[in-house]
């Protein structure tokens, strides 16, 4: 297998983008990534687009062709493929692009992610997202995504004694980081009281425990490492990109508040990358809800089960902490356009490793990691990156 590098990143502003369409946002991110790589669109040999639910949010399928067309690449007839694994759709696009180059099939590939979530009502959005769980045996009973993660949170708090304040600190920390990210949906700091006084969505989770509904797109250009210097002075090498699956329903998991797919994907990633947990300088994890970040840090192996709440409260995962987590603001503050999130995480880690993250820069970051979850943990993609 060949070594692969990221040579270009592009992000749209995340938020409620009433004036911009699905295709416009995806093209905007793609053009920015190509500009960043200093290449020409004609250099792109293949395209993967992560998208969860164009069919529900904008009544559009056949996303690969649509984006190839509006990027001006359909006339080059490049292969364009949509990937879908709910909120891990972007992570899948990235991993497919990595494998496409590593296998020797192509040299230069674009991986994008896009979601347009505000063209339907809030109730419809909630229902579409519920499709990431088992529609027939979870969703049919009115179960929502916040309530599934709330059941994880209740199980976790009951077993490990994490306090409500410790959980709230995840949101406080991510809003602090988001306030330093110009593309973030919410660039505003909050306090623990903001979280504790926000409205209950699904007990024990409150509004400020939940990632928002977001429009946005992200794209990265990947290339074989031996050609990376043609396009950039600071390529970022992909040390590993792994994927794992688990039961579709939360109720069928071995352990309600452990994501075994995270454990499996992360173990594989560290094995392939041949690095230790302590070598990682920063992580972008899938904090669709505050509890998800707590579980992610533990299940990736950065601390023991039951410890992440305390570590978060102590500042271990803060921007100036030992292991900065979600420097972008995470899904919570940066926003969560579901299909774009997995690619946005890669953009953030690459930006950090290049030393271009401005006010939220982690000093001397050399190795970064991403963690993207589909559903309640039925799909997980983890990737590890190193500055070269």
């Amino acid at each position: 297998m060949r070594d692969v590098a990221v040579v270009g990143v592009g992000l749209t502003k995340f938020g409620e983008r009433w004036g911009d369409s699905f295709r416009e946002m995806c093209v905007e991110a793609g053009v920015k990534a190509i500009d960043d790589a200093g290449m020409d669109g004609d250099d792109i040999q293949e395209m993967f687009v992560g998208n969860m639910s164009g069919g529900r949010f904008v009544l559009q399928e056949h996303i690969g062709a649509l984006i190839a067309d509006y990027s001006g690449l359909a006339t080059n007839h490049i292969p364009a493929t949509r990937t879908e694994a709910a909120c891990a759709s972007g992570g899948l696009a990235f991993r497919q692009a990595v494998n496409c180059i590593a296998s020797g099939a192509q040299d230069i590939v674009i991986a994008a992610g896009v979601e347009k979530m505000t063209d339907v009502s809030g109730g419809e959005t909630t229902d579409a997202l519920a499709g990431a769980a088992d529609r027939e045996w979870e969703g049919m009973y009115g179960v929502t995504f916040p309530s599934l993660y709330a059941m994880m949170a209740r199980d976790y708090m009951n077993r490990y004694g994490m306090t409500r304040e410790e959980l709230a600190q995840v949101a406080v920390k991510n809003h602090y980081n988001g306030a330093r990210n110009p593309i973030a949906q919410y660039q505003k700091e909050i306090t623990i009281d903001t979280v504790l006084n926000s409205t209950l969505v699904a007990d024990p989770l409150r509004l400020m425990d939940c990632s928002p509904v977001t429009d946005g797109a992200a794209a990265v250009i990947l290339c074989s490492l031996d050609r990376a210097k043609e396009f950039t002075d600071c390529p970022v090498k992909v040390l590993a990109s792994t994927q794992a699956s688990d039961t579709i329903s939360l109720h069928d998991r071995r352990d309600i508040s452990t994501l075994d797919a995270t454990v499996a994907a992360a173990n594989r990633a560290f094995d392939i990358a041949k690095i230790e947990r302590k070598d990682v300088d920063l992580v972008e994890v899938h904090d669709c809800f505050t509890i998800a970040e707590i579980c992610a840090i533990e299940d990736m192996g950065f601390c023991k089960k039951g410890e992440a709440g305390k570590l978060t409260a102590e500042g271990y995962t803060a921007l100036d902490g030992k292991l900065p987590v979600n420097t972008s603001g995470g899904l919570k503050a940066c926003g969560h356009p579901v299909g774009a999130t997995g690619i946005k995480q890669v953009c953030e880690v690459v930006t950090q490793l290049r030393g271009e993250a401005g006010k939220r820069q982690v000093d001397g970051a050399e190795i970064g990691m991403t963690h993207n979850v589909g559903g309640t943990g039925a799909t997980v993609v983890t990737s590890i990156f190193r500055r070269v």
Partner: protein, 130 residues
């Protein structure tokens, strides 16, 4: 949910009928046609659950999809049936504050939702305190 899609598993939903693998003795609800443990060696037969069990974890849905909006707030839980299998279902109670982890529950036949004024009414299994 469309009529055929609901009708297909109507008996299972109304009567809490799942499946059992006679090869390894594992019970499944929702029903599975392939035992994940034994795969092709498995022998799947229908099994009617006793309907009793306990709450493993739960939440109170306060913001729901449009179809369930009028029912909020309502309790949803992961329930471990006495046969050992776990499922997700609503829990009915007069006071949502009375639900707790470990609470004994039993199944009951109830209306789940309706597709508007003229669509099908979805019935199924909910749980109440034993």
């Amino acid at each position: 949910m469309s009529v055929p899609r609901f009708w297909r598993k109507q008996t299972n939903r109304y009567n809490l009928i799942g499946t059992k693998c006679e090869t390894c003795g594992t019970y499944y609800f929702p029903p599975r046609s392939l035992c994940p443990k034994c795969r092709r060696e498995g022998k799947i037969v229908d099994y009617k659950f006793k309907g009793t069990g306990k709450i493993v974890t739960f939440s109170v849905v306060r913001t729901a999809s449009d179809k369930f909006d009028l029912q909020t707030p309502f309790v949803v839980a992961i329930i471990e049936l006495d046969e050992g299998t776990r499922l997700t279902a609503p829990v009915i109670c007069s006071d949502i504050n009375e639900v707790y982890i470990g609470m004994r529950v039993k199944s009951t036949f109830r209306k789940i939702s309706a597709d508007g004024d003229s669509g099908i009414i979805v019935y199924g299994t909910k749980f109440i305190r034993e």
